[in-house]
Amino acid sequence: MSLFPRLAFVLTEGWARLGRESRRTLVVSGIVGAVLLQVALVLLVVRGLDRAFRTVQGRFELTIFMVPNAQPSDRDRVQKLLGSDNRVAAVRVVTKEQALDEFRQDPEVDRMVRALGENPLSDSLTANLKPGGTESLDDLIARLKADPAVEEVDSGNGEWAAMAHLGHSARILGAFWCLLVLLGAWWAVGGTLSLVSRTQRPEAVLLQRLGAPPWALSGPFIWEGILQGLLGALAAGLGVGFLGVLMNFVGSTGLLLELFKPEPSDWILLAWVLALLGGLLGGLGAWGATTRFARPDGHS
């Protein structure tokens, strides 16, 4: 027997059962859908937090204040040190003259500087950091502080590291949450399909008595499970979309609304993830249930 008729039988029979066993389809798709909706929300929260962290991280700056008698060669050396670090996106040099000009735009400050009769400011360098980096900046700060021409390094009082750790923790927690939810779902789908397989038993026995080989029994059932999982994934996707529309409708603002405004590539990724997880949950659950199919008397 060739592969094509077997494949055709599995596909058509699995598809037909989807409609024939509409109650089962509804229950399994409902469980998978509810679980995947949670997973989708977790993924959106993690993705949204990631975006927020990247935005905040992009605004972090390291400010290096030079000693008052620093020479241009000192500035160049520090600038070179910063430029060679792969965490640094850009370096901007502000001479003490440029800084003074900026300060003097305030008439009050201008009066004070005139009274002082000299420029009290020093040269400084501002380093913008690359977004998405999670590494600690301690080593870079230590190297900068070791330079005799550097008076002070303002690193945002460790906020950079705190944000990096927060982002990292959010990812780990999200992954753990997803894993728990998926394991629970696998258990629930497998359990439901196992219960269902008991009602399937007379049919399975009859098919075996008619000469159905193992693939003809388990194949359509697994394909049916995959289709039910995909239907669940579709329901979860629609649920996420509905929540997004609902939030826009009620005019929610802030982070929650941001979660439902992912980039187009995120939506595509989410759709693939949901489809994959839905198919896997349904297929694996059904596969587990097929092991419980009864065999006719004398063949157990």
Partner: protein, 227 residues
């Protein structure tokens, strides 16, 4: 084709339905096993198709014991065997035509060539035009006839039929008997178990065996429907 050696079957209840039986069916034969109700005819047929095992002794069909085949071997073996059992009904939710073609589909075969024969058989059985009906839309008699047609459709090498006429109308019984004769003429081996020995079964090439008190004996003249 079929051999029973010292075959004994004792049910879990302790009832002995077959005692040290020797029995052979030649290839191409048509054997009718008759006997009173609950004498073990069904058990004997289930042993022949491997659904029951002997307590002692051996059953050999086509050179092997069907009850000892693994799932794949059994599926392959059943592709040559037609089974008619009272508890082997039609599958609900599938049309009559789908039910008839199901054994072929289950083995990965193409139903195309058998579709015409399925229509012909349905016509002969008085079920023409009902190929699209679901089993629950048919009478019990029609369902039993359809289950028999399902076994006959692929023209099996061996047909094992347990009470195939039970519940059928007289006309359907005649039709089924004619289909059996057709199958036999085509070279198939038939083993039919029935408590109700039909007069036409005693004619022609049919060999009648009586099962009583766990023993298989050639049927007497009266058993064969004689005066």
């Amino acid at each position: 084709m079929i051999h029973l050696y010292h075959a004994t079957k004792i049910h879990a209840s302790g009832a002995e339905v077959l005692h040290n039986a020797f029995f052979s069916v030649a290839k191409g034969a048509w054997v009718v096993i008759t006997g009173e109700g609950r004498t073990g005819k069904s058990t004997l047929l289930k042993m022949l198709c491997g659904e029951e095992r002997t307590t002692w002794g051996r059953v050999v069909v086509d050179g092997s014991d069907p009850s000892k085949l693994d799932a794949a071997e059994r599926s392959q073996w059943l592709s040559q065997v037609g089974l008619i059992f009272p508890d082997l009904g039609l599958l609900p939710g599938r049309t009559l035509e789908e039910n008839l073609l199901l054994p072929v589909l289950l083995r990965g075969g193409s139903p195309g060539p058998l579709r015409t024969r399925a229509h012909d058989l349905l016509e002969k059985a008085g079920l023409g035009g009902k190929g699209g009906y679901l089993p629950e839309e048919l009478s019990q008699s029609e369902q039993r006839m359809a289950a028999a047609l399902r076994a006959i459709l692929p023209q099996p090498v061996l047909l094992l039929a347990d009470e195939p006429f039970q519940g059928l109308s007289p006309r359907s019984s005649e039709t089924l008997q004619a289909l059996f004769a057709e199958l036999h003429a085509g070279g198939s081996t038939l083993v039919v178990a029935t408590a109700d020995l039909r007069p036409e079964a005693s004619n022609g090439p049919v060999e009648v065996v009586r099962l009583a008190e766990g023993k298989l004996n050639p049927a007497s003249f009266q058993d064969r429907g004689g005066a």
